[in-house]
Amino acid sequence: MVLENQDNRNLWEKIGDFFSANSIWMKWYCTGCGAIELPPTMTSRFDMERLGMGPMATPRQADVLLITGYLSSKTLRRVIYSYEQMQDPKYIVAFGSCTINGGIYYDSYATINQLDKYIPVDLYIAGCMPRPEGIMNAFADLITMIKKGQANGWRHYQENYEWYKQNQLDSLKEVIIHDEFHE
Amino acid sequence: MNNPVLLIVIPLLLAFLSVIIKKAGKWLLLVGLLFNTALAFFITTGETIIGGFAPPYGINLVVDQFTLVGVILINTLMLITIVVSFDLVGKYSIVLLTALAGINGMLLTGDLFNLFVFMEITVIAAYILSAQAKKYHHTITYLVIGSVGSVLYLLGIILLYNLTGSLNMADVAAKLPLLTTKELLVPVLLIFIGIGVEVKLMPVSGWVKGVYSNANRLIAPLFASVIAGTALFVFGKLFVSVLPVSDTLTLLMLIMSVMTFVFGEFAAFNQKRVKNILLYSSIGQAGLVTALFISGLVYAAVILLISNVISKLIMFTIAGAFTEKYETDDYESLNGVFVHNKFTGIAFTIAALSMAGIPLLIGFYAKLNILIGFFQAQNYVLPAIILLMAIVEGAYIIKLLLALWAPGKEGQVSEKSFAVEKKQLLSVKNTIICLIVALVIIAGGVLIDITEKVVTDGQPLLGDQSPSFTISQSKGGE
């Protein structure tokens, strides 16, 4: 998957992206150890509100989904479900090496190794775990990407929906599960 | 031909005849009743001397407007009762004829001792009739209490005779003002209790429950409307025109009557069986009627009496039919019984609503007269009690009606399928008769000026001076 570099946005989209870049609301999925790095990022030490970012309660309201660590197949379902409930434009930032290659869980039968096979990740933050400085840096990058119109993961997801679905089904059998605990 | 004596003699004669011709008994009874009813409409007011001795030494029959109303009403009611339950008369025709004679005698006689005689005739007939239910225990109770009552009454008139030297009602009434309260205390009290047993005043009405609640379609209305009505008429006659007594005694009698009224209504509120409700309501209403008589509101009392006996006739007949067809008269087991017997139900409902004092029925007219009468007499406590009791009365009547009309448990919509099994309560003939009687209730309440004219014929009853409600009043005297 290659990030599109040519800028073919019209004026309205550019204005829109300006607003999107300067007001990013997050919904984070506290799956691993990475979530613990977010409170200091938000509070007075690093203060991410400077960038116009803030936490939101539900995926409907949020712009960016933070995946803060490894994902088991059980949680992947929820991540996909939450992601699909978000509104366009929407972005995903993945934390730590677990989301890139499985990290220390690379050979676990229950976790997935490569997140962007299932949902489009706009930005990875390397490290195990990334420090708040790293996170802040990543957010600044994300803002730049949005401004430039390069954070197009959600478009990719729409365009390659079958491919993503196939990957999801291969790994999970079904995304939205129906069993006696959920009926 | 329109000699009131015939009202007594003909039934007696027919009673003797029916001893001879046993098979014709039923028909003789019908003949006697028809004759009496017809004659009742033709007799005129006046005095009839029997035996040739002029009163106060001889016996006389006095027909005034009050008696006339009583005679017409009671004979008609008895005719209706017998016609409705003609199939149940059977071997009781002689007793019924005798009772008819006794009742007419009670109403007509102008002599205190003669009243005792006729009362005994009636009551003994009633003992026999009460035995029809085969609950002899209750009959014996009735017999003992009734006899005690009669004896007390007899003692009373003996004492009165001792004091006044007369047994003629008019004569006694004339001599009464010469006596002191203390002298009158014992005889009046004895007479009051003696009559009270028949009138069903509360502490001495122990027999009523046993007898009424087991009586059938024939006997129950006979007791509740015919005999009870007669007793009340006699009570009115005695305590309004013959023994108008002093304040203390009046007060005590009033308290007893009102107590009967209140307790009767309360007890009726507590009942589950239709007949029990009706019998306690009868007791209560009897208490109210006596209270009215004692207070001197004769017209109101008579209207209430009329409305009550007519209602009770219909209701006891139908209550009797309940026991006959469903072998119970517990209203909860008769849930929705009127679904299958709408016309019977309508007659029952009209009678019941009249009892509860719903407007445009005669019961309401009675209530209005009572209230106007009491207020005119500056009496505010009794109307308050009467109206409070009207709430209680309305409550148990509406509960009864709801149970009988609307089947289904609480929380379910009424449906026909919830009702008790379908059985015809009354034959077509009887239903029509009940409906006609119910129409009388409506007519009496709507055409109140005619009602007043029929009842009073323009003269005050027993010298009653209390006001009555007329159409012109509502128009503000236009």
């Binding site: 829109g16 607003f19 007075s44 509100e49 939101m56 309660a57 409907r60 509104q87 434009p89 | -």
Partner: protein, 306 residues
Amino acid sequence: MTVMNFVYGFIVLLAAFIFQTALTGVNRKVTARIQKRYGPRWYQQFLDIFKALRKGSITHGWVFDFGVIMALGGIMATVIFIPVAGFEAFPNMDNVFVISYLLAVGMLGMAMSAAGSGNPWASIGVSRALTNMVAYDVPLMIVIFTLIFAFDTASVSEIAAMQQGMGVLGWNAVRMPLGGIVAFIALFGMLGKKPFDSFIAPAEIASGPMVEYGGKHLGFMFILHELMTFIEVSLILSLFFGGGSSILVYAIKYAILYTLVNIISQVMPRFKIDQAVKFFYRVPLVFAIIQGLVVIFLGWGVSVWF
């Protein structure tokens, strides 16, 4: 009623929105400073709203949309009726009951739309919001009732005008101190500030009524919230703190009042909703009734400051 009235109305609407949104942004910065943070840009609130309007959105049926429109429409109509420093877009329409009940249209619309989303959190949030309203509104209305009785008018601008010319001593909050306290506390409830913010508790019921909103619906909700804040603060300002003789004075007083509320609320914990009801019916209600009795029977605070 001419076209100009509608134009004025629109101007009021726009001014109110811009002013309050900017003020909200400033207050976010104030909040941040209280928390020893740098805080967002002062125009961050504008960015947030326009971003939300820009985003895509979902709908759960026509009532989900209709409720939002009705809510914003009702609130906008209310804003138009608010007298600002004596200026009214529609003269003689600033009846306090009209304003406080027209405000309810907005709330009803929002509640309806939220419940229409079919999300139980939204319904819980609405049920809490309505309960909260019953808590703060009764004491407040009693105080307002006292004002109407005292000044014999229900016009907000007239009540505001009557307080002017005497400096601070003319303010109703000073003339009727208990009533002022009640109004000030009720303002927290009206604005949904801590400690009375349990109906939007984000971590507890996922922001309550707002749970399903995203995109333009959420943008509408933000605009609605700014305008509602404007109405509520203006109402309290005009009724209890003397309004303003000129737009500038009005704006300054407004900003101070709002910021004060914000600062206080930042150091508050959160009441459970039944605790909020209990609190409002124990303290402010009693204060309001005492104030009412004092004004009605003793006449203190009506004509003169004693």
